[in-house]
Symmetry: C2
Subunit: 579 residues, 2 copies
Amino acid sequence: MNKILRVNMSKLKAKVSDAPEKYKHMGGRWLTDYIVCDEVDPLCNPIGPNNKVVFAPGIVTGTSAPSSGRLSVGGKSPLTGGIKEANAGTPFSQKLARLGYKAVVVEGQSKEKKYWLLKIDKDGAKFHPADEWVGKGLYEVFPLLFKKYGKDVGISAIGTAGERLLSSAGVCFNDIDNRPSRYAGRGGLGAVLGSKGLKFIVVDDKGAKGVDIVDHDAFKKGTAKLTEALTTHDITKPGGALNKYGTAVLVNIMNEAGGYPTRNFREGRFEGAAATSGEAILDICNERGGVGKTGHSCHPGCIIQCSNVYPRPDGTEHVSCLEYESDWAFGANCGIDDLDTIAELIWLSNDYGIDTIEAGGTIAVAMEAGLADFGDGPKAIELMEEIGKGTPLGHVLGSGAATTGEVFGVVRVPGVKGQNMPAYAPRAVKGIGVVYATSTMGADHTSGYTIAPEILGVGGEVDPLDADKAALARGFQEATAFIDATGYCLFIAFAVLDIPEGWEGTVESCNGVLGTDWTTDDIARIGREILDKELAFNKAAGFTKVHDRLPEFMKYEKLPPHNMVFDVPDEELDKVHGG
Amino acid sequence: MNKILRVNMSKLKAKVSDAPEKYKHMGGRWLTDYIVCDEVDPLCNPIGPNNKVVFAPGIVTGTSAPSSGRLSVGGKSPLTGGIKEANAGTPFSQKLARLGYKAVVVEGQSKEKKYWLLKIDKDGAKFHPADEWVGKGLYEVFPLLFKKYGKDVGISAIGTAGERLLSSAGVCFNDIDNRPSRYAGRGGLGAVLGSKGLKFIVVDDKGAKGVDIVDHDAFKKGTAKLTEALTTHDITKPGGALNKYGTAVLVNIMNEAGGYPTRNFREGRFEGAAATSGEAILDICNERGGVGKTGHSCHPGCIIQCSNVYPRPDGTEHVSCLEYESDWAFGANCGIDDLDTIAELIWLSNDYGIDTIEAGGTIAVAMEAGLADFGDGPKAIELMEEIGKGTPLGHVLGSGAATTGEVFGVVRVPGVKGQNMPAYAPRAVKGIGVVYATSTMGADHTSGYTIAPEILGVGGEVDPLDADKAALARGFQEATAFIDATGYCLFIAFAVLDIPEGWEGTVESCNGVLGTDWTTDDIARIGREILDKELAFNKAAGFTKVHDRLPEFMKYEKLPPHNMVFDVPDEELDKVHGG
């Protein structure tokens, strides 16, 4: 796996070359960061001709390593104005890796506002007109594409949100059953692809050589250790918490902790939590019968299998998947306690090609502005449909919560660096607040999931209300950056934080693929290198320490039930990345 | 003139106190800057409870000094996120000064979304409910207010744009004939007043003591020198260029220079320039008869009198005034060559309480996005009316060009720090581009009017296409900051740049009022002090050198007819404020 595919949308040329030596050991977020930093002017307009989008499978992606089908997508974010890496678990990533591609770099812009499909297979890459699919929902388009290109291809797509250059447009990938449902969602990279005119990438790995493994023995030993950890830890094992209930198992836990953001972060506890919890989802799947199920996976080879298929009352499929973040974004955060409504809002997001976290946060801010009442599900669906119709209001909502707040004069906008917060309340769980503030990505729980020790007792136990969290936030961000380079799902962290052999196996499996001799001591080093690269980009893009702050209202408005403000001192925030 | 009126909108209390000693010699922009920097957290939400709005007449405002009726309005800008000073010429300022007020500081926020009118007179300040005027156009409201409070009061107001917290809402003041037409327009301070619930300030100076003058002799000598300069310089004298044609005398000049931004800064020359020039305005006034006239003034005691009253075809009043920036913003920048359409767009802006420069720039960006064709006047009027109706589209457009560009995916957005550029093309006039880039205010020609030497041969002659402009931009910004402290109209610069005695007179008249012994050597010192204060606020608000840049497209897109990009090196830009 040592090739780079460079896709020039201005010239409609795709060129394969060997990866430069310096990229040799990089994968995933590590590699997208380096290519973006090496090639993209931090001051370029994100939807202008000089931004790029980089796709990179992780180091072990495409191998038999468990839960390793992640793909990183990088570029300058239209939402934050900083560097962005968003990743998804999808067969697309595994196929790209097996064809030997370390990265696909999309640059330039299609002339005349035309859209293209890029077909990648063992013989190279070719452009096909995609205009016939423009303006359509992805649930309509995906089956047609799979019919045309075969059910075993992988597909990357943007929806109408990306075509309209909306800042919360995500990059969509097929799941294990070829739904348009796996998203590198955050930060608007779908709009960047839209600005370039690249609507789809279809990857066919028929006849692919697969991923080169330098040291098979190390690889085998490493994956065995990791597999052992994943299959024994209570959270990640088959039949464990994530597998049985899906990620929404967290709903009741976060609600109990008073850190479940409710009605646009006005409160930390939602009266509709139980009705929208993972337990409720499992009950509904069981009651309604039909195709509904938990224990679904986003890509082949996953042990954790935390996805689900949510059924309609008649047992037919409504949406996959209804996971914790989307559940919360359209649920508690909008005051909506009805899973069927939430399922519909997720389905619409997937159909339009938009990030569910940003979309839910945006509807909550729109509710704050008086465009709908909190808890009004039908009106929330109407607001989402404005995005699909491309009305002026839809353009606003598709531009994210910060822009919606600005347009409608809302002060309570719970974002950092222009990106809305995910499903953990920083005033009740201070460490995640420190991560939101200091992440290079804008407010992002996947930058450093301190919820593990703060709430779940994983990787130690830490008081969530304690404000002394710089070291914790730093450590988690470094470890996460490393995991995002490997291609492993971040959820392996639950197991490996508690089981040291799991961490060893993670590193050793990378050594197996690359021929390196990293130890677990290298995790923080590599993670730091990745973060420093991102920080350098952001600094050149105009970010300072001042941008590593939570919104002002969280410093003067107390969040029930703990009735605390966000009281982590600025000095503590500034310690996270040093300097 | 040594009192400060502190207006607390949370408690509905207005309190008079003596100005602290350190503010003793300050006025206008100098004073609003200091109070904002001393009292406002640079990271506060501009429309949240912790921002403030400061009104301050200039040092000599309220005296008999010529052309000195300016009022500075300061606060944290919702448009730029940085410090803002916007100023207007209005009798309101003179009345406030004569009542002895150095500044009015508006803080806190009205509860329950109610609006208030603050009446200030010699006996103090009192609140009156203003809800009956909410939601109405200012052309309807102003006559009613003058009827109620007497024709000799001064009025400050926000319109529906400010009520809706739109980021391009200005602060409106009455002109000499009590129209709602003089604006501290830029940067959205009208939205800040809206967020506080302060809709009007009515100032009645009946029985006022007037402005204290410490050294009458110095004052008299100074004003005589300045008067002499103003009445002899070709640009400022009675019957001179500004007096005869109004500021739109610049249209043909800038067009000839190839620096007249046309169709959203796509071109530097407009085929409709002559039809929309100052000369055309004078012709129309003469042809149509009735109330139309040039040589109108915004406040009593002005020598320059550059304002006008633009008539309808039947000779009745359409709007006052139709000046260069508004003419251009709705004219060339939107490709519109019809003065009656432009007049209507200005009237709507005044009626809604919105900055014409930002509004015109926004319509141009909306045209870029395909919401109307360039040159389509009726459609431009429809777009403006959306702002008046408060539709979602109106909210977008009222939020300014940058937000409109973001919402509709436009790359060609000609702004700096979120504020759209005024009527000079930086690729054809490099010095003004350097000012746009480095101004603390966002793109702003009134921060440093290098057009004087670059185009008009005033204050020397400089090649507009030369890129070596740091020293020029610095000098002009310093001198301007000083003038903005004095209360003199910036247009005195035309005279005093060429006539050294005019500069002396400017300084000496300030000495007369204050009892200071400044010389012309102090101009740059005081200007620098003002700018450094603003830079410090902006730095604390998150601005870096990186924000002192023109938009990327101006670096790769050539502007006809000179076919040049903006080629001033970043290093040259960084020299302006040193460091």
